[in-house]
Symmetry: C2
Subunit: 209 residues, 2 copies
């Protein structure tokens, strides 16, 4: 799971750990708390060991894209800059495409969804529908409790169930819209995504800082 997230971020641009974590926080922080360093660094080392990422020895990456007035930070120091390898990119695509059961769980879904711009349309649809199914099951479970066993629960527990049910219903509706959007071809925004190989989203943004 972290593998996918880290590869995805490094796919956009080489980065060192600290920065990586911040990017990760805004990218997938919606459904999942920020990644802990206790997870990040060991994972980085593991990914490096299997050859999916490598230590890039360059700060001069920042020199390449013009127009980037490198914001305050990012100066030279003994930082370790990681970049994704060719093998890592392959593996990233594999991980994106394969949707196991945990893909439909909160965290897994969040990570996959965050990289939808790089995912092929068929997989997107599969994941959205799997997630919808998951949330629908949860919704039905909550409805059952509220209909069948409401009188056995105290008011607070009941209120918690209601709030959870509301959230589940909303997410299902949200997913419905996204699915309809996918089917009609109009993906939400500027990402028509044709071609199976190496599609990059609006990579015009330097992505620094």
């Amino acid at each position: 799971m972290l593998d996918l997230a880290i590869l995805g971020i490094l796919h956009e641009s080489p980065m060192h750990g600290y920065e990586l974590r911040k990017q990760l926080a805004v990218k997938i922080g919606t459904l999942r708390a920020a990644i802990s360093y206790g997870s990040l660094y060991p994972t980085l080392r593991k990914l490096q060991a299997v050859g999916w990422i490598a230590e890039g020895d360059a700060e001069d990456e920042s020199a390449a894209p013009a127009g980037t007035e490198v914001p305050p930070m990012t100066s030279r120091r003994g930082r370790v800059v990681y970049k994704i390898t060719a093998e890592g990119k392959e593996r990233f695509q594999e991980l994106l495409a394969q949707a196991g059961p945990e893909t439909f769980e909160d965290q897994g879904f969040g990570v996959h969804f965050a990289f939808f711009a790089r995912t092929d349309p068929a997989t997107r649809l599969r994941i959205l529908e799997g997630r919808r199914r998951k949330v629908e099951e949860r919704r039905e479970g909550l409805r059952d409790v509220l209909n069948r066993a409401a009188e056995r629960l105290d008011a607070y527990t009941l209120e918690l169930q209601r709030h959870g049910l509301d959230a589940a219903e909303r997410e299902v509706r949200w997913l419905e819209e996204l699915i309809a959007s996918e089917r009609s071809g109009r993906t939400p925004g500027p990402a028509p995504q044709v071609g199976t190989t190496d599609m990059k989203p609006r990579s015009d943004t330097p992505e620094r800082s």
Copy 2:
């Protein structure tokens, strides 16, 4: 965290592991997935070791006399019924009252909230406000991203942020209502908690809503 949840369920009635997990699922399953057996049984053993729960005598099983020379070598497992001890009840109240930082996290909050009917009003208010603060921070973070960095994100990531923001805004509103409800004394339901002789009005945070 699991300690609190298990003590809370066993506080209502003695139970064996399998049943306990099912109860737990409906009680706190809203904000948290069902507890795994890989967590449940070790925790039960730990709680038993420190004396907060004890094995209750499974009476109906003992209906057959002790002349059970039937089991050859395989240790026949019976169902183990656990019940909370007096010390466990004390500890439960302590855990309920103490609200550390993880109390305001998704899972921690869910567990605490599920037992609000057993929590004193002052603590309820404290926890609700702490949670609200937490969710507000998250909401502000998402707003910042959407206002300041929207153009650097692809459409899917953006959509994820929007959905997260919507959920955060809803939860804040939900919490506001609960807080108002608490303050006005009309707690939602059959747990007025009036027995407390000296409830201090606890003139609370200047932040009102």
